[in-house]
Amino acid sequence: MSKVLELSDKGHSVSVEALTVAYPHDDRLLIALQGVALEVQRGELVCVVGASGSGKSTLLNVLAGLERPTRGRAHVHGHVALMFQEAALLPWLTAAGNVELALELRGVKRSERKQIAYELLHRVHLEGFEGRRPHELSGGMRQRVALARALAQDADVLLMDEPFAALDAITRDLLHEELVRLWQQTGLTILFVTHNAREAVRLGDRVLVFTSRPGRVAHEVRVDLPRPRSLDSPELAVIAGRITDRLKHEMGRSSDG
């Protein structure tokens, strides 16, 4: 069975079929996701947009193996790394130490860890900050370390849960650029969750619009804008505007019901 599936999944890095996740809540079921189906090709950057409560984070948790599907199937080819809105660095380790731990847990030899960690931190432009602890870094730098740590996990798929939502606009824009650059260099598959339609259009090859309560893919937008993209380009604004309208429509619907 797995053979057949693997053949049919070829080229798919992430595949989700009829995924439903429900939690017991005050003796009734809270349905976070219902019948979600999506596929992400290898090397693709796909964004998921949805209002809060649309189960976006639940989707990533299931894909990362942190939660179980109630029904349906969620499958990821290869290793997964996960980034959150908070950098979630271990505060007692330095920037390099955080990256090295990811390497250690991956089984990289002690003698090689330090050098690889330094190289990864250089790739996210943090040379000179290897010895700093997280609380000595700015929010943007912490997310850079988190990005380096995600790369250190040598994952095939990077799941990102609103990783730049807490940053100021300029820092966020720069990190978008950095992320796209790293994505193009590494050929990573990225599933990027956000509530910001512009961010989604800026980054994604495709944008999946999620409904709220229960979360489901309501709409898919293919973004054919050439890269590098600018947040200020009118074409981008038009697409983002359409997605935002769609989101408002969905939110209105769910609050009516």
């Binding site: 990362a64 979630a88 271990l90 943007g140 300029i170 720069l174």
Partner: protein, 284 residues
């Protein structure tokens, strides 16, 4: 462009660093003077009570007489031996309490059944004055050092286990998720994420455990005179028997100073860890 971002960040972080730093000497002084004032106040109050003549000098001598006596005592063989005996007991009992407390803490944190069964019991034990165990300890072990160790351990171990347990309980769930995503499971997750995250709370438990151990030891030594070992507690009891107030107060000063000294070691350790963990907020 990306370089610019880092430059921006760099400026931001350098700003943090260039905030005028208080010089080291000033920092030491600012943490020292309240203590000096407190000591001066206590000594002053003591002297006032003595000067008022509430009790005759041979019952309540003034600080001058007591410190003179202390200076004489400090060189004598008996006195130093007493301090050595008591410190040895304190260290040995405390070390065992740390071992037992940590082991229990980790087991209770890790094993759900144990946690339900004895998690609350540990808290309960903490509220039990450990000296209340002493009569039982004497029946169980006889009037000897083992009984004293028993009381010391029962005093300190629950606090130590409790500190570790609350540390493990309050690890940010996000850090655990990160650890799991990075592939840490079971003991690896404990080693790399949970235990380091719990360390500040564990150190608080160690500090509290020391305070309990020291109190229990003093109570045990004063109540239970063991063998021919001339411990501090035994000496203070003898001083009372001979109505030698100067000696009694001199020993009390020693007990106080030892307690404070060890406590401040824990204080330094605690601050160092909190600073390293970024829990101190902005450094000032």
């Amino acid at each position: 462009m990306a370089e610019m971002a880092v430059e921006l960040d760099r400026v931001e972080v350098d700003d943090l660093e260039q905030r005028p730093r208080v010089s080291r000497r000033l920092r030491v002084w600012s943490s020292l003077w309240p203590k000096l004032v407190a000591i001066a106040l206590a000594l002053g109050l003591w002297q006032v009570v003595v000067s008022v003549g509430w009790q005759p000098d041979y019952v309540l001598p003034g600080p001058g007489a007591v410190f003179k006596r202390l200076a004489q005592d400090l060189g004598t063989a008996n006195f130093d031996l007493g301090v050595a005996v008591t410190l040895r007991r304190a260290l040995f009992g405390y070390a065992i309490a740390v071992a037992i407390g940590s082991l229990i803490g980790i087991l209770v944190a890790r094993v759900l059944v144990l946690r339900k069964a004895i998690g609350a019991a540990i808290l309960g034990l903490q509220s039990m004055p450990s000296i209340a165990w002493f009569p039982l300890a004497i029946l169980l072990f006889g009037l000897n050092e083992t009984a004293i160790f028993f009381v010391v351990i029962l005093g300190a171990a629950p606090a130590i286990a409790g500190g570790l347990l609350s540390g493990v309980d309050h690890v940010q769930p996000l850090l655990i998720r990160v650890g799991r995503v990075m592939g840490a499971r079971g003991l690896g997750l404990y080693r790399h994420v949970i235990l380091p995250a719990a360390l500040p709370s564990f150190v608080s438990g160690l500090k509290q455990g020391w305070a309990f151990a020291w109190r229990s030891l003093m109570a045990g030594e004063i109540i239970g005179i063991v063998g021919h070992q001339f411990s501090i507690g035994q000496q203070i009891q003898f001083a009372r028997d001979f109505a030698d107030s100067e000696q009694l107060l001199a020993i009390m000063v020693v007990i106080f100073v030892i307690g404070i000294a060890v406590d401040s070691v824990f204080g330094v350790l605690d601050t160092a860890i909190r600073r390293r963990w970024g829990l101190l907020g902005s450094e000032a």
